[in-house]
Amino acid sequence: MPSEAIDPSAVQWQRVSPKYLRLRLLSWGIETVITLVVTGLPLVLRLTGIWPGYPAWLAWGLPIFFAVTLLWRGLLLPRQVRAIGYAERNEDLLLRRGIFFQRTLVVPYGRMQYVDVAVGPLERAFGLCTLKLHTAAPGTNAGIAGLPTDEGARLREHLSARGEAQLAGL
């Protein structure tokens, strides 16, 4: 994974599971279908003559607008997933994400209040899980989605152990 401008030097980023891309694409596909069906409904009604009063520019414009945005987002997905990375260092955990709006986050082990692992139905089907770290600051917002289940469990144990050893007060 290429290191970006704001990433600390000499960090070996761990990548999330490649299956996560498939998961994201699948949920993206579902979202796309639903959105296009909903926004395309007036167009169909208009074309079949049931609702002739509906303005044509809106009937065509709305689904086209959503189709373009969704397609753009779909095209970004592979790179977005590739941009997710995490690295365990001695004292802290590094997280990065984003292509356009990049973020590199440092969470000291001593600041972690608790670690959360969540698995949704789609994730379970792919054998993935989402790990979240919580500090006393809501802004921390540190989550790693798309970890393989066993890696998530390992990381959770590891992080809790590290956190316990170094926990500071607020």
Partner: protein, 573 residues
């Protein structure tokens, strides 16, 4: 933290002193009997309103003589009587079942009639204590005591209402126990009269009413009001219709209440310093006295809206874990350390809050932070290419690292200076958007507990930012290591530190929210073991420090420290 939800209510009354471990615990006390009335007066007022309105209307319309006669009158009176009895009964029950207990290291509050609830907070995790007096409570001489623990301000432990001297005494005791000071040397800080000169407390500054009024009138609200009025005038001139004048009415009401909120919460502001922490009192109708122990302040910001430039005033707001980030008037009043002060007063407050600024020239540094531009006093500002993003504030945007804190300043019209002690940094992030990447700029974001301050170093050179992230993580780490203990006065007294780590700590070990509980044998030890799990959702019980001093010898009727009671404490003026 619910203990025995839905217990049979009948089994509890009368067992006030003889709860689970009979005799070994301090007694459970009740709050003042008038308190349900003070809290629930609105229900009574509503009842009186509905009944009274009909009566008054009929007096005016029908000459006053059409009271319902005979059976109708009987039923009306009966219904009213039943309503009153039901309300009174509810009040009584809620009062009867609300009890509190103060042990050496916990405060526990039980409440609820049907669903029983017990909430407890460890004293060394208390972040701040407020004594709040709503208007009606002031009339009765009562006060509410609030203990904030670090959970985003959602659930303070509240005692409503106690007599004011009792509340003050309790506060002194709690702060005393929480600070880990020895009881014998504690007589200095246990204050009686809350208002005037409490021994061991020094007034640092007081704001005059005229200052508060002027600061409100010149506040940022006025800038927005002027903008709104200008918009309405322009609109009226353009359309030629007077209809848009009608838009002024809600605007005036909105701004009126904003002004009122600022004024009434800032009125009679006084700050003083005691050995238990910084004490701040303010309020016109509802008064509050806050006590923030040293080291509980996670971040602070000195701000100056544009119109205050004329008078040279600044406000200070702070993040204290537990005060939360509510945007309503009350929480913004709670997080205000100084509503409006001159730069000299700001420096005086800063000296209390940041006792060790970690620099040779604190006055120069803070002054440069508040209204300097450019690299004066050692600030690192945005590079010249940042002018495309912020042409006005480029030379203001910058940061300075001292031994103990990171100072970040920004804003040209709305100036602000943010100070985050190194040991209070939670986590750090670098952020960079597409435009900033073209300009090789980045933002460093410091995550703090919820509050009005969200510290951020904006638009600095990307390489500098990356280096700063690295160094700052390092600094936060070392600062954390030599941080003050939770019990901040512990080092001073001959210790009552008993070494045994908490056999009696009933850590209520809330499981981490989220579905996945760790499998047995994981890093989280089961509740009841020596160390409460650090992964618990609530910070207070979840500290890793073994609670010192919790190995109480069983009968510990904690004696209240001597309180001088010569004068009945008068109310806040």
């Amino acid at each position: 933290m619910t203990a025995g939800a839905a217990r049979v209510p009948g089994e509890d009354p009368g067992t006030a002193g003889t709860d689970p471990a009979t005799g070994t615990e301090p007694e459970w006390k009740r709050v003042h009997p008038v308190s349900p009335l003070v809290r629930g007066w609105i229900a009574l007022a509503a009842l009186a309103y509905f009944v009274g309105r009909d009566q008054v209307e009929s007096w005016f319309s029908g000459g006053g003589m059409d009271l319902p006669a005979g059976r109708a009158l009987f039923w009306t009176v009966l219904a009213l009587g039943i309503a009153l009895v039901v309300i009174a009964g509810a009040f009584f029950l809620s009062w009867w079942f609300t009890r509190y207990q103060l042990t050496h290291d916990h405060i526990r509050v039980r409440s609820g009639v049907v669903v029983r609830r017990q909430r407890q907070a460890r004293l060394d995790r208390v972040q701040a204590i407020d004594i709040v007096q709503p208007l009606l409570a002031r009339i009765f001489g009562l006060a509410e005591l609030r203990f904030e623990v670090a959970d985003a301000g959602e659930s303070a432990v509240r005692l409503a209402f106690l007599r004011l001297p009792d509340a003050q005494q309790l506060r002194a005791r709690i702060l005393n126990d929480a600070s880990g000071a020895d009881e014998k040397q504690s007589d200095g800080g246990s204050g009686a009269g809350d208002d005037a000169t409490v021994p061991g407390e020094q007034q640092v500054l007081a704001l005059s009413a005229s200052r508060v009024i002027a600061s409100v009138l010149l506040s940022g609200t006025t800038v927005f009001l002027m903008l709104a009025v200008a918009a309405v005038i322009v609109l009226t001139a353009l359309t030629g219709e007077a209809a848009s004048i009608a838009a002024m009415v809600p605007i005036i009401f909105g701004f009126g209440s904003a002004y009122w909120g600022l004024f009434s919460s800032g009125f009679n502001f006084r700050a003083s310093v005691s050995r238990e922490g910084i004490r701040i009192r303010s309020g016109l109708l509802d008064t509050r006295a806050q006590t923030v122990p040293p080291g509980r302040i996670q971040a602070l910001a000195v701000r100056q809206p544009p119109l205050w430039r004329i008078t040279g005033w600044y406000s200070i707001s702070v993040n204290v874990a537990g005060y939360g980030a509510g945007s309503d008037g009350e929480s913004s009043a709670r997080t205000r350390l100084l509503p409006a002060g001159t730069s000299e007063e700001v420096l005086r407050m800063l000296a209390l809050v940041v006792p060790d600024p970690g620099t040779e020239d604190p006055v120069g540094v803070f002054t440069a932070g508040m209204n300097g531009t450019g690299p004066a006093a050692g600030f690192t500002v945005s590079p010249r290419r940042a002018r495309w993003l912020s042409p006005l504030s480029r030379r203001r945007n910058g940061y300075l690292v001292t031994e103990t804190a990171l100072l970040s300043r920004h804003g040209f019209l709305w100036r602000s200076l943010q100070v985050v002690p190194h040991s209070r940094t939670q986590s750090l992030a670098l952020e960079q958007g597409p435009v900033a990447r073209r300009l090789r700029l980045a933002d460093l974001v410091l995550h703090s507990t919820p509050g009005p301050v969200s510290p951020r170093v904006v638009e600095i050179d990307a390489d500098t930012a990356r280096q700063l992230l690295h160094e700052q993580a390092q600094r936060a780490r070392t600062a954390r290591r030599r941080d003050l203990p939770e019990q901040w006065l512990r080092g001073t007294g001959p210790s009552l530190a008993k070494s045994a780590p908490a056999a009696t700590n009933p850590a209520p070990a809330a499981p981490p929210p989220g579905s996945a509980n760790p499998p047995p044998g994981s890093a989280n030890p089961p509740p009841g073991s020596a160390n409460p799990p650090p992964g618990s959702a609530n910070p207070p019980p979840g500290s890793a420090n073994p609670p010192p001093g919790s190995a109480n010898p069983p009968p510990t009727p904690v004696k209240p420290p001597p309180v001088s009671k010569e004068e009945p404490p008068h109310e806040h003026r």
